[in-house]
Symmetry: D2
Subunit: 134 residues, 4 copies
């Protein structure tokens, strides 16, 4: 099951080459992840404040297939690839709305840490929620 | 007449103090400006590609009144303060949706330049459109 | 007395117009401020961790005079404009090293806050140090 | 042979978790790449302006091992992993100067494109230069 949300490429996201800077795709991966948890009624602020857990990035990967220009609408999709005791891996794809072309795809793996930055098991609520999206 | 649009404060917008970094308010001012022109059916891409004009920033100012935290919804409003032969000045305000509090206000002044970076009069279409919003 | 430090304009600092994005000048103002305190043996980390004070931005202003391109060396200068009980105002200028041209100038005003985000008098050590640079 | 350069983690590079945002490691990979070409007397501006070639990112990867905090000095190393007809792959590592700990490692693969964005063979000068660093 894929979660999808849409963003506009802002002027500031682009660089001298006239296209979105490669690091900014990771910003949009994360913005999509934020929306994903909110859509499940479990926003990251709640995971942090009520459950005491941060989802720290341990790995990130992206392949760039087509450029995204200023003002372009992009669809970002998130799929849960894998849920382990302490980690979650998301697959992301970014499509250009104008022509439906795949602009980028990648993954991000994160690990649950307590507020003292110790790796901890995913809170039951989080694990159950993301597993339901597998 | 004020134009308004809403944004979410993303994790990446915040800093070690746990609030949106002061430079990022200017990113949201600009994102609002982008939406403003689009809402008038005259997107900045068209101003650039069809009319051959960029709106270069010559001055920017912001007063910070209240912090914006991660995941907060913010309303950004744009008002046209002044339109001169070659320049446009926008007033911006940013409000937190949660409590309606004014988080920041400022202005940005920009000047029309040709693709060779010479200052030029605002294209008639642009001048008329923004003046209609005075 | 002016404090000066130099930076390179990175690819990611630029936008589709081929020049440094207007919000990034504020990033370099701040990077210069960071170096300024370090040069006085009172780094911001120490002001925060030992003296319990953050310097929160309350106002920021910049006038843009000349574009900064990718790979350009820029000199950023900081002068203390005013020190009050709880606030410090810095004046900044950014020069292009290639031709010595003033690219931007502006100011940033900040206020001392405790770790509970209450405005507090500047720590004596900070006040004395910045006043010595007036 | 590894090329090394050092950077300071700026306040703006950090996020609410108090550490450098995961996307910013890619900014420092790229800043190191910029310095790398400059150190070889073949800056990216020259590759673009004289040789007519941009090095577009096609893949990026990073594993995060240890957090980088505000004001931390980091060493970024670049090694050429592979040079093909049209592509270059760099390996990067980021170390914290304070304790020498590996904070992150990853790679970036880029492809030479002409100013019309067609993939082209690496200019001889570029290929020879990066191969000499293998």
């Amino acid at each position: 099951m894929a979660f999808k949300c849409s963003f506009r490429v802002h002027w500031v996201d682009t660089d001298t080459a006239g296209v979105m800077h490669y690091s900014n795709f990771f910003r949009y991966f994360e913005a999509c992840e934020e929306e994903f948890y909110r859509s499940l009624s479990l926003p990251l602020t709640e995971i942090r404040d009520r459950l005491g857990v941060l989802l720290l990035r341990v790995e990130a990967h992206c392949q760039y297939k087509a450029a995204c220009k200023f003002d372009e609408l992009i669809d970002v999709t998130l799929k849960i690839r894998e849920v382990q005791e302490k980690t979650i891996t998301y697959d992301f794809q970014i499509f250009r709305q104008s022509d439906g072309k795949l602009a980028a795809e990648g993954f991000v793996k994160c690990i649950a840490v307590s507020t003292e930055w110790k790796a901890v098991p995913l809170p039951v609520e989080v694990a159950r929620t993301v597993r339901s999206m597998l």
